[in-house]
């Protein structure tokens, strides 16, 4: 499973693709289980030059029935900096944010480490 992300041009905010538009919350991101559809969306996103900067696909893992970015870096982008829990997307709290935070534990115990070679 994949999601499509980038930073919004005007303010640098982390955004996720949702059916041709961009949303700020990972929980609302469109998820792709079809690689071709994901790549088509990425190509389309790259043409939105005045909206988003450097869009790219990220791999997801399942954690307690929810999807979360596989890499720690991408989870951090979807949450905000850990030294300021009230800054970034994590500030609004709620179940979706908790699920992302929780995903780290699940990811470490899954096969994630085998997927990303150093």
């Amino acid at each position: 499973m994949k999601a499509l992300t980038g930073n919004r041009l005007t303010d640098g905010e982390v955004v996720f693709w949702k059916a041709g538009a961009w949303v700020e919350r990972f929980a609302e991101a469109e998820l792709f289980d079809d690689a071709q559809k994901a790549e088509a969306a990425e190509a389309s996103a790259k043409s939105q030059q005045t909206v988003v900067v450097d869009p790219y696909l990220v791999d997801l893992i399942e954690s307690d029935g929810l999807w979360a970015p596989l890499s720690y870096r991408e989870r951090l982008r979807a949450l905000g900096p850990t030294n300021h829990p009230h800054h970034g997307k994590q500030a609004e709290g709620g179940a979706a944010i908790e699920a992302l935070r929780h995903a780290s534990g699940a990811a470490r115990s899954s096969g994630r480490v085998k997927l990303i070679k150093r």
Binding site: G12, L76, P81
Partner: protein, 551 residues
């Protein structure tokens, strides 16, 4: 401090207006990101993980209260009410919007500040001794030379597209507080036997993936020949630096490849061609020196009864005085170091309110002078001992009186993976863990001088190679791990640290540091710092303890 003239002010206003137009064209789709990126980087604007980051130049770490207040106001208006002081003595805002940046550059220009040459392959901000003009150790004021370098290197057409970025440090004291030996060029001001001044010139030091302590290529460069010699160094580098490989493009690689002797020979050859036409006239140096005319000092006795009484009455103030005050060249004055390393906070961060408190104190008690150190602290260089209790009280009320300068919790940490697009691992939470482990102030003082430096990737913005204990974040199969090095130093006894052993997971780093400190306390001999003990014993006892603990 140096004041911009009308020409400087007009230039900055024009530059901000130019960037406003460029941002407009980017937002309208008239230029692509590939075309715009180098333009925004030339104005210090990076795109990081969560937002844009604006890196503002603080030339040789010197600020006046008006500038500090302007930074505080920008932090409040356009960021989240804080800023991050860096190891280049600059200030970064981490939550900037592209659309706001032209307005921010206008506000900076209004107080003679900008973000030019804080990115790109050009000559970056010069590091100078943060105690310049205040310490009795110096033989001249390094700010005079730093300002001359700033003017010479700003938009220098020949040196705006070097093979890679280029950093210079200057100290005029034997005790080096600038990390001069790990800069592209380190200049150490010396007095010759005949009483004249000259620079020891060190070239090709650096950190990053290939750390080097730079070799000295000239023992004594007469000060009036500085600029022709700098030009010769930069020319040799510009001609032969590796433009084909970003990782081998810094001058240190060229110096190491040629050997210091051959590099020096080529510089001498080039220098002879340039001749003294490449030097700054003495009148120009004198003009700049005039801008740093000595501040007015009262004639005082060295002992302040107010200061002594305050120490006797308040053990916390006495602790602050022991750790955060430094000897001033004038009787009755002191240098106050303000730690931006409160336990559990982010190293180098200051809130807008804190910046304003420091600005107020500089104005009221500190001759309108503020410095930023490469160790991510602030300095009030000229405070009367009589005023230190009042300064301390104001700092304490603002959460700025942490009495830990040069102690184990005075940690350098880069922003790391919490903000930086290049990082492999976080640095800030590691610093916070270690600081909490050593929150006991008595124990921290017992341990004494111990410099911990943390980087979230091999680019080494956190100077980990030259930490007494260095910590490097690495990505190990997708997880954050930390590689420890021991025995580094960025001071006059510069050294690159040696690897302790296999990388540790995040949760074990603070414990490992605790173990290293226990070994030091067990092994140390009279008067030895952690670094001295390590140099005497070698890595073995430390390694044994950490990895025995780690099963």
């Amino acid at each position: 401090m140096y004041q911009y003239d009308t020409l400087d002010k007009e230039f900055l206003a024009d530059r901000a207006a130019e960037f406003r137009e460029q941002v407009g064209r980017r937002l309208a789709g008239e230029i692509t990101e590939d075309q715009f990126k180098p333009i925004r980087l030339m104005n210090g604007l990076y795109l990081q993980l969560h937002a844009y980051m604006l890196r503002i130049a603080i030339p040789y770490g010197s600020l006046n209260p008006t500038q500090m207040r302007a930074l505080a106001a920008i932090g409040r208006k356009y960021d989240k009410g804080y800023g991050h002081f860096t190891t280049r003595t600059n200030l970064q805002f981490h939550w900037i919007k592209l659309a706001d940046t032209p307005a921010i550059l206008d506000e900076l220009a209004a107080v003679d500040m900008h973000a030019i040459q804080t990115s790109g392959n050009c000559i970056r901000n010069t590091t100078a001794d943060p105690y310049a003009g205040a310490t009795a150790e110096e033989i001249d004021d390094p700010r005079v030379w730093s300002e001359a370098i700033r003017q010479w290197s700003s938009l220098h057409p020949e040196f705006s597209f070097l093979p890679r970025k280029f950093k210079i440090a200057i100290t005029a004291a034997a005790k080096d507080r600038t990390a001069a030996k790990v800069h592209d060029i380190g200049l150490m001001l010396r007095r010759g036997r005949d009483g004249t001044m000259g620079f020891e010139v060190i070239v090709g030091g650096g950190l990053g993936r290939t750390p080097y302590v730079g070799p000295t290529i000239k023992e004594f460069l007469p000060v009036n020949r500085l600029f022709s010699y700098l030009e010769a160094i930069l020319r040799v580098y510009n001609r032969h630096g590796r433009r084909d490989n970003k990782f081998k493009a810094r001058i240190k690689i060229l110096v190491a490849a040629l050997g210091a002797e051959e590099f020096a020979r080529q510089v001498e050859e080039e220098w002879a061609k340039i001749g003294s036409e490449g030097d700054l006239p003495d009148t120009e140096i004198a003009r700049i020196r005039g801008a740093f005319a000595p501040v007015h000092f009262d004639t005082l006795v060295n002992r302040s009864e107010i200061f002594e009484a305050a120490k006797a009455a308040d053990p916390q103030f006495a602790r602050f005085a022991r750790n955060n005050l430094r000897e001033h060249k004038r009787a009755g004055y002191t240098i106050v170091v303000i730690s931006l390393k409160a336990i559990g906070e982010t190293p180098g961060d200051a809130t807008s309110e804190q910046m304003e408190v420091v600005a107020d104190l500089a104005e009221r008690y500190g001759q309108n002078d503020i410095r930023v150190t490469h160790e991510q602290n602030l300095v009030l260089p000229h405070v009367k001992l009589d005023d230190t209790p009042a300064v301390y009280a104001a700092l304490k009320a603002a959460g700025l009186a942490t009495p830990n300068v040069n102690l184990i919790s005075d940690i350098i940490a880069c922003p790391g993976l919490d903000y930086c697009a290049l990082a492999n691992a976080r640095a800030i939470p590691i610093a916070q863990d270690i600081a909490r482990t050593f929150a006991d102030e008595d124990r921290a003082e017992l341990v004494g001088e111990l410099k911990i430096k943390i980087s979230g990737c091999i680019n080494a913005c956190g100077h980990h190679h030259v930490g007494h204990i260095g910590i490097l974040g690495v990505d190990k199969k997708g997880e954050e791990f930390y590689q420890l090095t021991l025995g580094g130093s960025g001071a006059e006894d510069a050294a690159v640290g040696s690897m302790l052993g296999p990388a540790l997971p995040a949760g074990r780093v603070a414990d490992a540091v605790d173990t290293l400190v226990d070994v030091y306390l067990r092994e140390r001999q009279e008067g030895e710092r952690f670094l001295d003990t390590f140099r005497r014993t070698g890595v073995a006892p430390f390694k044994e303890a950490v990895y025995a603990d780690a099963d």
